[in-house]
Structures are given as C-alpha cells and as structure tokens.
Symmetry: C2
Subunit: 452 residues, 2 copies
C-alpha cells in the first residue's frame, strides 16, 4: 500500500464498525459535524482527556507513551508554560498595532539563536501561514515566481502552501510555477548527496526557465521529514544552496520540523548544514501547542514588501502566544533540552541500530537528536513495505506507545517525542518495539518456510 496522496497511518472510516461502541459512536458524531476533510490516526483511534510530560491519558486513566508529538516540545501541559499562559491571559492579550515590550524581548531572543543574517521576524499563527508569507516575500523581493521543493515535501495547507506540498497528493496539484527534485538518498556521502541534489535543483531551475518562469526560491525542510527523514550526512545542503544563490534565487529554510533544538545538535536544522538561509520559517513547537509561528528573514528582503504591502495578522504575535513562546525558550534553556535530545536521541538510535542489525526487513536507522526513523522493507524484493510499517505502528499503539509512519511510501517509522523524553522512556519504547519485531520475525520465518 502506498500512501502517496493519502496519509500514512490514517484511520479508515470503513473500519469504524469493528471498534468498541463508544469509540465508533464518537467517530460517527465527529463525521457528522467535522465532515470529510478530517483524519484520525491509527486502526483504533486514540481518545484523549489528559496529557502530562511525555504521556497522554484516556478517559479510563490509561496512559500512552507519546513518542510522536513534537508540538508539545517541552512536554504536555508543562507547568511553567501553563503558568505563563494563565498569567498572561489574565493580564493582557492584544495585537501588534499597539506597543508591547514582551514581543520585542522575545523577537530579540529568537533572532539571537539564528545566524547574523536573519534580523527581522514576522509572527504568524501557523506554519502554513509562515510558508505562505515566506513565499509572498520571496516572490516580491525577487520579482520571480518559480519555487523548487523536494518531491514529497510538505509545507502547509493554505492555497499557496499546498501548491508547494507534493505530499498532499494529486487532489492538491502543484502550482504551475513549482518544480520538484528527488530528496537526498540514504547511505551516500555528503559530497555525493550534495552534488546530486545541486544538479537536480539546477535542472529544475532550467526547467522553470524553459517554461518562462524565473526562479524565486528553493524551499526545504531542513530534515526532510515527509520525504522520509534525511538528517545525515549533515552538510550536504551547502552546494545546493550555492547553486540556488548562483541562479539568483533565495533559500527558505523550513524549520517547522527541525527547529527549536529538536535535532540536539543545533537550535535550527540549517545550522547543522553550516548554512545561512535568506528566510526561515518556524512553527509547531514554538508555543508548545498555543498557535504561534514566524518567518525570520534578512531585513533587506522585506523592506520594500513591508513598505508597499505591509502585513498584519490579528492573532500573530498576540500577547498570550508570545508569553507561551518565551516560556518555551526558557524551558529549553533551563532544562538543557538540546543537550538532552542529543544524548537520549543518540541512545535510542544506537539501540534501534542493534534491533535492525540482524533483521533484514529493517534498514536505514537514522536520526538527529529526538527525530528518528528506520525503514521497513520487503527483505527479498528490497522494496519499501508501508503495510508492515503500519502494522508495527498499530501494534505499538496497542501496547500504548505512540509513533507514526512517514515518507512517500509510508514505510519509515517516525519517532519524534516531546523533548523531555527520558532514557527510560526510550527503553520502554525500544522494549515494546522489540516485542512487536519478535512477532514480525516469527511471521517472516513462517512465511519463508511456507515458500520454501
């Protein structure tokens, strides 16, 4: 089963009848009011009433280990962040057309974590809005329209963001001025990956030129999540961005997935590649779940756009979202979550490699910090096995460990917990995963036996 155009790990509504009555009733009710556009995770969707740290709880008090959600990056319902929000919501919540010092304090702090080039920030509410605004600014600044993205990229759901998000599938076609390049391959050197990707980007820019579309920007998730996760070998983006700049285009780093210390190696994913982007978009973990996102940029890019077009987002940079975001930065620093992600992530990656060592259907263990992946493949045909990946994801869910699958074939396990995920949480995840894999081992042995 290929999820291309579909969504890996989405609940199939046709299976609702097989669920416990209270779940299937809730799902029917949901279908009636929320309609056809919504998806649930897992064969048996998870009903939640409480969250704490790296755990989510159902109405019977049963807890799931959350090894998936990056939005609550400092942990579900972190008391320090919750207190900051509770305090701000009782003090002031207003917009950016009045003067407010907190938004400036936060902007200065946030920009200090970026390189020297990105000295302006504009707040939005979602990563989609950040993508959309970055595209608007890049196109305005260059006077060009062409955008290059990777072939299973995801950058958001506004009209313009969906047009640069091939992972949404054929139902949401790419824009006429958008070209794709194949994502980095696994298992090659930085030099090989960089050279190929740079050549592909040059070819895409030429292709745009041949249809009369001038090149505006290369937009890439710094960790290539929806393309199947490509954290290594860090550095491969360098020659790609040189090619982008040589062609007169801008480089927009999408940090919605890789940002805010997730990779353990740097605050921002592009920094692992030794780069200075022209614009960077930030989102999901920024406010630990309170809607806030942003675009950072070189000031000269926004000077004319700002003067001639302006940008006002009513809720963008509202006082409560800023208070949440500032508290998140505090916790990342105070709890040393970047170092923590590096250490625990490294441990989980090593143990994953151990699990994969003698299992021919598991390959490509990879990760940076607490963003980890491993591929499920058919051991004989050496082809992606998205169905097996889903079975593993759903078996883990039954064992109360939440992960998901990603990639164009949906065959990559996606492990991306809140950053306070501890070594013993990793041990639990790996122990349950081992149990699931032992059952897969047994099934594969039986299958091989019956074929011989």
């Amino acid at each position: 089963m290929s999820p291309a155009g579909g969504m890996p790990n989405s609940f199939d509504i046709a299976r609702a009848g097989a669920l416990p009555p209270e779940l299937s009733e809730l799902i029917a009710r949901r279908g009636r009011v929320l309609g056809a556009g919504y998806r649930l995770f897992y064969d048996e969707p998870v009903h939640l009433v409480r969250g704490q740290g790296v755990h989510l709880f159902d109405e019977h008090g049963h807890g799931d280990l959350d090894a998936y959600n990056n939005v609550p990056c400092v942990g579900h319902c972190h008391p320090y962040v919750a207190d900051a929000i509770a305090k701000q919501v009782r003090t002031l919540n207003t917009n950016t057309r009045y003067l407010d010092e907190q938004i400036l304090d936060y902007a200065e702090r946030l920009l200090a974590t970026h390189g020297d080039g990105l000295r302006n920030v504009i707040y939005t509410c979602t990563g989609s809005e950040a993508t959309d605004l970055a595209l608007r600014i890049a196109r305005y600044a260059t006077g060009a329209r062409g955008i290059v993205v990777t072939s299973n990229a995801y950058h958001g759901v506004t009209t313009a963001a969906a047009e640069v998000s091939p992972s949404l599938g054929a139902g949401a076609p790419l824009g006429e001025d958008v070209r794709t390049v194949p994502p980095p391959r696994l298992g090659e050197s930085a030099k090989e990956v960089g050279a190929r990707l740079a050549a592909d980007v040059r070819k895409a820019i030429d292709g745009l030129g041949q249809q009369g579309t001038r090149f505006a920007a290369f937009l890439a998730d710094s960790i290539f999540s929806s393309d199947g996760l490509r954290p290594q070998p860090a550095g491969f983006l360098k020659p790609v961005i040189e090619a982008v700049h040589d062609a007169g285009g801008l480089y927009i780093a999408d940090e919605v997935q890789s940002g805010f210390a997730r990779t353990g190696e740097a605050m921002w994913g592009y920094q692992r590649h030794g780069l200075d982007p022209d614009l960077a978009t930030m989102g999901k973990p920024m406010g630990n779940g309170i809607p806030i996102a942003a675009v950072a940029m070189r000031p000269e890019l926004v000077a004319e756009f700002g003067r001639e077009v302006r940008y006002f987002n009513t809720f963008g940079g509202n006082s409560v979202s800023i208070a949440a975001a500032a508290a998140v930065l505090d916790v990342i620093e105070n709890e040393r979550l970047m170092e923590h992600a590096l250490s625990v992530g490294g441990y989980v990656r090593d143990r994953l490699a151990d699990l994969a060592a003698d299992r021919p259907y598991l390959e490509g263990v990879r990760g940076a910090g607490l963003y980890l992946g491993v591929d499920l493949v058919d051991p004989e045909k050496r082809q992606p096995d998205g169905e097996l990946a889903l079975r593993v994801v759903n078996e883990l869910r039954r064992r109360r460990v939440l992960i998901s699958a990603t990639g164009p074939e949906g065959h990559t396990l996606k492990i991306r917990p809140p950053l306070p995920f501890a070594r013993y949480d990793g041990q639990r995840l790996l122990g349950e995963l081992e149990q699931v894999l032992l059952a897969v081992d047994a099934a594969q042995t039986t299958a091989r036996g019956s074929r011989q």
Copy 2:
C-alpha cells in the same frame, strides 16, 4: 489624504522623533526586529501592559476606554474565559488526529447557531486561513476559479486571501480571476441597493466569463466593514445572492467582523439579511484573542474535497483554543451580550445622530449593535475628509478613548468596542467626542469666516 492602499490611522514612522523618548526608543527597537511590514495605530502609538473589560492600561496605570477592539469580544481578560484557558492548558492540549469530545461539543453548539444548511465545520487558526480554505473548497466544489468581492473588501493576508482583498492596495494586486463590485451606497432602500448590487455582480460574472474564467463564488463581509460599514438596510443582500446562485456560484459569508452577536440583531451578519450562505467564515472574536477561526459549510461542498484532498491544521481546533471558544459562547449567552449590544449600540447610535444633526461635516450615522460608523466630510465640497476623521480619532486617543477610521477614503469613524461596553462607557465616548467636535466646530467657523 486617501489611505487607499495604505491603512487608515497608521502611525507615520517619520514622526517618531516628535514623541517622548521612551516611546520613540521602543518604536526604534521595534523597527529593528519586526521590520518594515508592521504598522502601529495613532499619531502617538499606545503602549499597553494590562487589559480589563473595556479598558486598556499603560505602564503608568493610565487607562484607555477601548471602543475599537472586537477580538476581546467578551471584554479584555474576561475571568471566566481566562479560567477556562488556564484549566485547559494544564489538562490537555492536542490536535484533531486524536478523538476529543470537547471539539465535538463545541462544533455542535456553534453549528446550531447557524442555519440548517451549514452542518460541517473545519477549524483554522485565523480568519485569513478561513478565507483561504473557503476559497479552496468553493473552487474545488465548483471546478471554477472566478471570485467576486466588493471594491474595498478585506478578507485576509495569505497569498490567496490577499488576492481577494483590494483594500490592501496596489502593492498586493488582485488575482487574475477576481473581479470587484462597488459596495452598497448609503441612504437608499433595500430594494435599490439590492437591485444595483445584484446587477453589478451579474456584470462582474459576465466579465469573468468574457476572459474565460468560470464563476466560483461571491465573497462578502456581511457588514462591509472595510468598504465603510453598510449595516442597513438589512435585506439588500437577498437579490444579490439569488443572482449568485442563478449563475451557478456559491455564496461565502465572511462573518469575521459581523459574527458572534456583534450586530445585536442576530448571531451572524447574514441572518440579518435573511440568507442561507453556502459557506461562512468566522474568526476574530471566536476565542476572545486566543487564535481560533473556522469555516462552516454545507456538507456536500466538502465531501469530495475532504476525501481527495483532506485538511489538517496542526493548531486548528486544538484543545485550548476550543476551550476558549466554548467559554466565549458561554459568556455571550450568560451575560446576554447580544441583547446588550442591541440596546447599548442603539443608544450610542441615537446620540451620534444627535451630534451629527447640526454638523454639516458629519453624515451617515449608521450601525448595527456595537458596530457603528459616521462619515467625516468636507461640508462645502461634500467630499470624504479622511484627514479630519484621523484628527478626530487622534484627539479621542489623546482623551484616552480608542476608536479608529475605515473605508476606502478613511473618512468613516469606526466604533466597535468589546461587547460588554456599557451605556456609561457610551456616554463617556460620546462626551469626549462632543468635546472634540466642539473644537472642530470652532475651527470650521473660523475657516468659514476667513474665507468670507
């Protein structure tokens, strides 16, 4: 001074030197980090540190009467809403890919306030995202691209929303598949306004057809805020929507301004016109400042889009935003804010009419509930006087009463307070306004004298 393409009542950065040092330093700091895209209100921007009810306070404890902000619709920092947020943020904050009953409870409650047709709701974070999604769905459902809006409409700041927002000015050009119609005129009967607007919409649809663009939807703010506020005569939209439907298009009601009881006469602005829209967008007041917005729609419009495209907004419908939105509905009901808006709004409108009665430079007093406007005109040339409107706005600001200006010429005073605005708040507003107008009277008398 015409603000067309500019923004009525925006602070001119060139004047920063004339401000008190602490303000000008804050503004300089803001310019350095937030960049050129941001605007402040007023000749002397307002520095805020606290909000409560209908008042906003600066760092010295001085309070402004807020007769402008509709986002904090139940009042700044309403304790009931703040408590609901504080509780939820400590309990659970998750997304729509897990089952959660609160989002369904709220959806059912929200949809019950709409007509029978709108039976599905999709949550976004901002009104811009709601517009963008409504356009995506309308275009997908009709297979057509053409959109008709009014000539100074504002519907948002995503790429697609900006393309249907002529009020953003020439810097943000309209989309190729977008046509505009003149807004309703003041002072005509519902029949006259409706007939003219319907004819203009038909002409715009024909114009689209002549360029080979099929008509998808008519999108209109139900109270025509940025077009200069056109609350009366309610009912004029009916023949317009008949024309839209006759041409095979959809009607998208933009309720970001007129929704959530603001008009005092109905929960939604379209209900005042006796209509059933095909889609309705909701935003600003929905969560009293916590980012939440939505699109309600006829289920058949989203069935195929939902199946083939899907829609996931990470923060859209998150638990905290839903808790805030549910608390807002509670307060609107418990404090009977719709009835209150009707009564206080009616009082303010009558007193505004008294103030205008013997002042030839004030005309067109209008409003519905707590959304009120009056035009400033040159009494001899009978032309819009945006400069005078700004002077009034800034004089009121100096007297610690916050309103703003709107309309294509910026000559309409925009009075749109939080809904708990009391009769004595109205009296204060009107009393200060009268003082400002007495000074205008004196100046005009002097000017007339010197010309004679």
